[in-house]
């Protein structure tokens, strides 16, 4: 592939102008829509807000004291741990199951296109419905999962009401909801791998597993990286599923930073906006760190 002739200095300047002209709508859009909420969130976390000062607007500036309150709270470290476990386990399973399904459906057998489309149905459902459906299925007494366990002679499990299982239950539901995203993105990455590579491998006598592991998987690395990063960002934000299924309970057993932030700011009778915003900002910082790691690895991969 040949490059076009190197542009002259004047043309290069003109090209920069054109580039930013195309970017202008998005830049304006970012400034208008994202900057203000981010600023508001920062402001909420740096002041001491009571309900009164939230409405009347005269909250005193208190620097990082909200962050201090949050870190000193006994819920903080459990929430961090739960967030790490929830995100890590969700990503691992969502990604591997999504990839396995993508590879499977890539083999173009009859109905593969329709079945692949049906896999996206979980995404169409409003979260209140999918989370509620999982709640119903995992109910200790009237849930189908426990009924099935009883059928095969196992003891029923208190999926949503025991501290030991509540985090696992919301993780399972989250994995279910996340599989379609991984499936779609990885599948389209697979589509881009030229068929000749597979043919060459087959000619060389490679078995399916080594074809996948030695050829397909390395070629999918960039796709995997972006899928995992986006998956991480989306999973860190997840709170509806947990909130609807367990409200972060029982006794904070399934509380993550996202649900805690929501509970502080919106989920109780007396909103504490400052700490809620502080937790939210901590989440954003965590996500930013991972974003920076991603960019470093991308740059290293390109060089």
């Amino acid at each position: 592939m040949t490059r076009a002739t190197r542009p002259t200095a004047r043309h290069r300047g003109g090209a920069q102008w054109a580039a930013w002209a195309f970017l202008a709508p998005v830049v304006l859009y970012l400034g208008a829509f994202y900057a203000y909420p981010l600023y508001r969130n920062l402001d909420l976390s740096l002041r001491h807000y009571t309900v009164r000062s939230f409405v009347q607007g005269d909250a005193p500036f208190t620097g990082l004291s909200n962050y201090g309150t949050v870190v000193d709270d006994p819920t903080f470290w459990p929430a961090v741990w739960h967030t790490a476990v929830f995100t890590g386990v969700s990503l691992a399973f969502q990604f591997s199951i999504g990839m396995a399904l993508a590879v499977f459906f890539h083999q173009n057998f009859r109905l593969s296109a329709t079945l692949r489309a049906l896999f996206l149905v979980p995404w169409l459902l409003p979260l209140i419905v999918s989370a509620s459906t999982w709640s119903w299925m995992l109910n200790s007494d009237s849930g189908i999962v426990n009924a099935a366990l009883r059928l095969v002679g196992l003891d029923p499990v208190n999926w949503l009401t025991s501290p030991a299982w509540s985090l696992a239950s919301v993780t399972i539901a989250n994995i279910w909801i996340g599989i379609p995203f991984n499936l779609v993105v990885v599948y389209s990455g697979l589509q881009a791998v030229p068929a000749e590579i597979y043919e060459a491998a087959a000619l060389d006598g490679a078995r399916p597993w080594s074809t996948f592991w030695r050829i397909t998987f390395p070629l999918l690395r960039p796709v995997s990286a972006i899928t995992l990063l986006l998956g991480l960002i989306y999973t860190l934000k997840v709170f509806d599923i947990i909130w609807i299924m367990t409200k972060g309970g029982p006794a904070d057993a399934s509380t993550t930073l996202a649900t805690w932030s929501y509970r502080l700011g919106f989920g109780n009778l007396l909103p504490a906006f400052g700490p809620g915003a502080a937790v939210g900002n901590l989440l954003i910082i965590a996500a930013m760190i991972f974003g920076l790691i991603y960019i470093r690895t991308q740059r290293r991969a390109l060089s």
């Binding site: 009164r52 200790s140 208190n158 501290p163 006794a251 009778l269 909103p271």
Partner: protein, 413 residues
């Protein structure tokens, strides 16, 4: 292929455009808009424009010479919406909210007092209006009240040999549950979820033990938690109570497999549809007698407006809503007990079954009364965390409530 895609997209857009007619909100009532538009927010999204409730709002508007624009919101969301709107100067003229929220909104300076809005509270039962009073001022009037009692399934109790009239205190109740379990049915269902709903359901037992909300670690308080805890351990109450809302708990009772359900007046309509004979007894206190139950039900409030001249019409709207006839209609629809003696008498006259509930409401207490005000939410949350910890097996009842008292005391300093 491409033209097909374009064609189907076009068809979809047309379809969307055709179907996208007005769905909700909008002006209710075809009165003369001489006085302008007044906004009303309520927590009853189940009522759409054709319902009796919304028609009543429109009619009150027409009578006051204005157009009413009503929006129904999810009740758990309404506090935040009210705060956000007040911050931006976009408060509605009439705001109907759940009663424990009133003190929060009052403290935020969102609501007017009866001094400003000139509402007449003289006819309203003092124990019901208390939830809307802090610092000696009144911030709204109750639209009606509801409270909790024990529904029972006659067939299940008869088969187990239990006489509901003999259930007078905790000991007899637990004994009855034992008999029901021995007969192969399930004992009692309630809601112990980790939200205000759980606290609401726990309070009759809490207050019934003689405990005070300011001391969560007192022996009486711990005995209330132990009551629930022991029921779960003995299998008299199902494990699902830890995650049950009051609706879910009612659905369990409606299967006919339970003897008792702790639930409220609003289930009366569903009780009739349940398909089995039911009865109601008041929630017993520990040593005998009726336990004080918390008052539920919404308050009608008038948020602060920049243009104070609006209060005159707002007062007319609210007076119309709470007039004897209108209150009777509203409370019958919502399945609440009225807040005034006059209307309560009419309710009992129309439906004698309600007598038990009227007595219960007379004995009920507001959650934010006893001058707790905005301290109540700071106590309620550690309390529900406490009983959730104990019921899910994580802590003993004593430990759970000792920890709860520590957080509550720290939060209410």
């Amino acid at each position: 292929m491409r033209t097909k895609l374009r064609a189907s997209l076009l068809a979809l857009t047309l379809l969307g455009g055709l179907a996208a007619c007005s769905t909700s909100g909008g002006d209710t009532g075809s009165g003369s808009a001489a006085g302008g538009t007044y906004t009303i927010w309520d927590p009853y999204p189940q009522y759409d424009d054709a319902s009796a409730w919304v028609q009543l709002l429109g009619k009150c508007g027409t009578d006051a010479g204005v157009t009413v624009k009503r929006t129904g919101y999810d009740t758990s969301d309404l506090t935040n919406k009210a705060l956000l709107a007040a911050q931006q100067g976009n408060s509605p003229d009439v705001l109907i909210v759940d009663n424990p929220v009133v003190s929060t909104l009052a403290e935020a300076g969102v609501l007017t007092t009866t001094d400003d809005n000139k509402l007449d509270i003289s006819a309203i039962a003092p124990n019901l209006v208390a939830a809307g009073q802090t610092g000696g001022k009144t911030y709204g009037i109750p639209i009606g009240a509801n409270t909790l009692a024990l529904y029972y399934n006659k067939a299940v109790l008869t088969a187990a040999g239990v006489d509901p009239a003999a259930v007078k205190d905790w000991a007899s109740l637990t004994a009855a549950l034992g008999k029901v379990k021995a007969a192969g049915k399930k004992g009692i269902t309630f809601s112990a979820i980790g939200t205000e709903e759980g606290s609401f359901q726990f309070l009759p037992w809490y207050w019934g033990s003689g405990a005070d909300l300011r001391k969560l670690d007192s022996p009486e308080a711990v005995s209330a938690l132990s009551l629930w805890n022991d029921w779960l351990k003995s299998g008299y109450a199902p494990n699902s109570v830890i995650n049950n809302t009051q609706t879910t708990s009612w659905q369990e009772f409606a299967t006919g497999q339970f003897a008792f359900a702790e639930n409220g007046t609003w289930q009366l309509g569903n009780a009739k549809k349940a398909g089995f004979e039911y009865g109601i007894i008041p929630i017993p206190s520990k040593t005998g007698g009726t336990a004080p139950a918390p008052t539920g039900g919404e308050f009608v409030t008038a948020p602060v407006q920049k243009d104070t001249k609006r209060y005159t019409t707002t007062q007319k709207l609210i007076a119309c809503l709470s007039s004897t006839d209108n209150a009777l209609a509203t409370d019958t629809t919502l399945s609440y007990i009225a807040a005034t003696d006059a209307v309560q008498t009419k309710q009992v006259a129309a439906n004698a079954e309600l007598k038990v509930w009227v007595e219960a409401v007379k004995a009920a207490k507001g959650r934010t009364s006893d001058n707790l005000g905005t301290k109540y939410p700071k106590i309620s949350e550690p309390m529900w965390k406490g009983f959730q910890a104990a019921l899910s097996g994580g802590k003993s009842a004593q430990d759970a409530f000792t920890a709860a008292q520590t957080s509550a005391a720290a939060a209410t300093k």
